[in-house]
Symmetry: C2
Subunit: 141 residues, 2 copies
């Protein structure tokens, strides 16, 4: 199966471009959406928790969160540990989640339209396997 990665990578730009286009309506980008999605599904979180979960560095999350706070999509809540910055979705953020989630789901539906359900499932489940294999081989080295 030579060329799997090539095909995989070739699809990245069209997809991310389309998604960013979709999100630009709401003043956000896909990378910021990741944070919104995280907060919706995991609840209020610290920046370190978000960074760890999505395997990016802390400064990356600082930047994303700063933008989202400017937009009024997330807000800080206070905890005991004064080092931590705990953030959660605002009401505006909850609304944006809903409409964007709907848009993404509809987009997914359209672009997977002609792909049988069992094939989607297989492709869907391959991604974490490859991710796992990549991590394993990093450990071996």
């Amino acid at each position: 199966m030579e060329g799997y990665l090539q095909r995989f990578l070739a699809l990245y730009r069209p997809v991310i471009t389309r998604l960013n286009e979709l999100m630009s309506t709401y003043g956000i980008t896909y990378s910021q959406w990741i944070v919104i999605y995280h907060l919706k599904h995991r609840g209020a979180s610290t920046l370190v928790e978000i960074a760890a979960r999505h395997e990016v560095e802390k400064p990356t999350i600082t930047r994303r969160v700063k933008k989202l706070m400017d937009l009024g999509i997330v807000e800080q809540i206070l905890g005991n540990d004064k080092r931590e910055k705990i953030i959660q979705l605002t009401d505006i953020g909850e609304n944006i989640y809903r409409v964007v989630r709907k848009d993404i789901t509809e987009l997914e539906f359209r672009i997977m339209d002609n792909i049988p359900e069992h094939e989607r499932k297989i492709a869907y489940e391959i991604f974490p396997k490859i991710d796992g294999n990549l991590k394993n081989e990093k450990e071996l080295h």
Copy 2:
């Protein structure tokens, strides 16, 4: 199948990082590899041909090719149309193609190891379908 795109996108960074790591041995990045790959499979080409094929803008290809010329991986040949810059792989370029191709194939083999052949095939064939669907819906708009 909510979340297909999310999984797809989450895998991008690990994969591209691993590939760039692999290619750094030879002083190139994945985006430059695309050009090498193109020249190997399509033969000597103009910048416009490469740009069109991979759906990127001309300045992007100008930059990639410039870097590859500096590295002695590609060279310019002369054609009738003096506007065009026709480039091809040098001997060095051919060698780099071989070793990198081998490395990529081995990497692919390792990270697809525990995935049955028929599943790989399905996932492999889904990518161009999604790409096509994305392009269709862009046309509709």
